[in-house]
Subunit: 369 residues, 2 copies
């Protein structure tokens, strides 16, 4: 059941709290503004979202006084990252609607809990085993039956906290590489490509989906998302169905991204998709929805959080989104001059290697290209 | 010649100052954010733009200390309204690039100066005469040869400061209605429809145009803008050419709107268009460019102000923009549920009669309609 279907939608002029100050928060704040909603960012360090938020509170997630003041200043709270302390989320949820829920956060921020949760729903995931120390690895590697990836259970993003493991001899180095913390060992999947499913669920339980993009990663970081993905329609429908199953099981409100491996059209149809991980938030692989869809993932997330009717996910153009990583954003002047290209820059102070500094979206089929 | 073609573009992370805090400033600030530019709003009273600006200064245009501090905190300045004190604009322009220039402001904020400027460029305007008191009206009415409209020279918007005059007996009432201030008397034009031309000119002199929308006013306030306008292509091209002539004559940087009367396809082609007024800023009749064009009027204005390459004005969809005036915005929940409708709300505190509270854009030709 939805969290509280009777609750009235928040009227324009209401304030949505956003935990986190990154680029996702920035684009959420901009989307909220279009709807006449104000935003209040809560963050330890100021970041891209602070430039456009109506208000900002700088404080840590352990600061209960700051959290209480924040809760009293907003009408609902959401987050732009799964790396929010669950205790802080629960503290806020006792005071003001938190959408999606702390439960979604809890599931998504621990890879072991996440994988067990998905597997229990009958959804295929890469075979995995719990690793509590380097000594667990040899047996796990045998049990998984092939090359594997060690992933820290918590605080991983953009490929951080991951290390390849092909033989027991790699165990110590891999354990050190992920930081010597509780982890999972996953069998490395030979996939044809990666896709993501993007669901949006309203607080009345209404659900809709964006078309699944095909994603390319480089060095653990998303490089490119393309729609259409060029896969059989039935497989894409199945991917959305999986995201819907996860969203309903979490009684989810907002945009939920589910990253999946597509194993190939030559595999039995019910085995072609395998969930890699879920993100309880708007997602980098959905940035193209700003230009190519009637209503973007950012606006639909904010509509859901505010208890509004969902907007149409209809896609009017083929699109390609490419991230600008590190120094690539220094090329902004040339990119700005490319006809029809939509250039998004996040105004991060420092263009560190591997840091997402912006993205570009090209609409295909436009006469400009 | 452009103001200073050699000046380097402002890099991402720069701050653009915006004079005024209304909905145009709000949409400019959001467009700037996408490009990684920060914004600093300067206004006497906080308004919709303050919710999304990186920073806000609340002070009057006569406050030189506040203006000086503001000038030192921004890398360029623009404005969202022609009702900015020219003295303040000149004070700022001495300290930081002001785009468009104080000259554009000066021409646009006095109807007499504006009409003389346009007429001197050889562009048709409605016949007009200067009115310095009610005693000037009888002779002017005879000279204009038909029903006329008295318009205050300054501070008019959305039909305010205007009064119809059909006989000398109306003189005293009309003079009182416009506030007893210097005015112009214009012959009332029997037009087939109204259109606007939207030019954008870069600080290197590059110029481009959005397709001209057909506009409908109600009670002096814009109600609806539609593209395509449904007029002969040659007439629309002529309208853009007129806007280009005005922009070049002003050595203009940014988006310039020129409102025109279209007298009808049965009129000699060089007489079909007559300029009503110019707006040295982004314009309500260009709001549909957010959804229907590659790059919106707001982003292109900010690109021009920052000295960036202009973005494509290419229109990918037919569109209709309708303003939400006064209590119409209270219907937000129904509008939010209309498939594919883009809803924009400005978060103004009070829905006063005649106040622009938001707008909606419908893309036509979408399968959703």
């Amino acid at each position: 059941m939805p969290e509280d279907p009777g609750r009235a939608p928040l009227p324009p002029g209401s304030t949505i709290g956003i935990l986190g100050s990154g680029q996702l928060g920035r684009m959420l704040a901009v989307a909220a503004a279009r709807l006449g909603l104000k935003t209040h960012v809560y963050c330890a360090d100021s970041g891209p979202a602070c430039d456009v938020a109506t208000q900002t509170t700088r404080a840590g997630f352990e600061d209960c006084a700051a959290l209480a003041t924040f809760a009293s200043a907003v009408d609902a709270v959401t987050f732009e990252s799964e790396n929010v302390a669950v205790e802080a989320a629960r503290y806020l949820a006792d005071r003001v609607p938190l959408r999606p829920s702390a439960k979604a956060l809890e599931v998504a921020q621990d890879r072991l809990v996440e994988k067990e949760f998905i597997a229990e729903l009958g959804i295929p995931v890469a075979p995995f085993l719990r690793i509590d120390g380097p000594g667990d690895m040899a047996a796990a590697l045998v049990a998984l039956g092939g090359p594997a990836i060690l992933k820290s259970r918590r605080w991983g993003y953009d490929g951080k906290g991951q290390a390849g493991v092909t033989s027991p001899a790699d165990a110590a180095a891999a354990w050190a590489a992920v930081g010597g913390v509780p982890a999972v060992l996953e069998r490395r999947i030979a996939f044809a490509c990666e896709i993501s499913a993007l669901a949006v669920r309203g607080h009345d339980g209404a659900i809709d989906f964006y078309e699944c993009p095909r994603n390319t990663h480089e060095g653990g970081i998303l490089r490119r998302s393309v729609v259409p993905a060029g896969l059989p329609a039935a497989d894409l429908a199945r991917a959305s169905e999986i995201a819907g199953t996860v969203a309903r099981a979490l009684n989810y409100v907002g945009v939920l991204a589910v990253e999946m491996f597509y194993l190939g059209a030559d595999i039995a149809s019910e085995q072609r998709l395998m969930v890699n991980e879920i993100a309880p938030r708007v997602h980098n692989s959905g940035h193209w929805t700003i230009e190519a869809c009637a209503i973007s993932q950012f606006e639909n997330h904010m509509r859901a959080v505010a208890g509004w009717p969902l907007g149409s996910t209809w896609r009017h153009s083929d699109a390609e989104m490419v991230n600008l990583i590190g120094s690539e954003a220094l090329d902004w002047h040339r990119l700005a001059a490319e006809p029809g290209l939509a250039l998004h820059l996040y105004a991060k102070r420092e263009a560190r290697a591997g840091r997402k500094m912006g993205h570009v979206t090209r609409l295909r089929g436009s006469p400009l290209r």
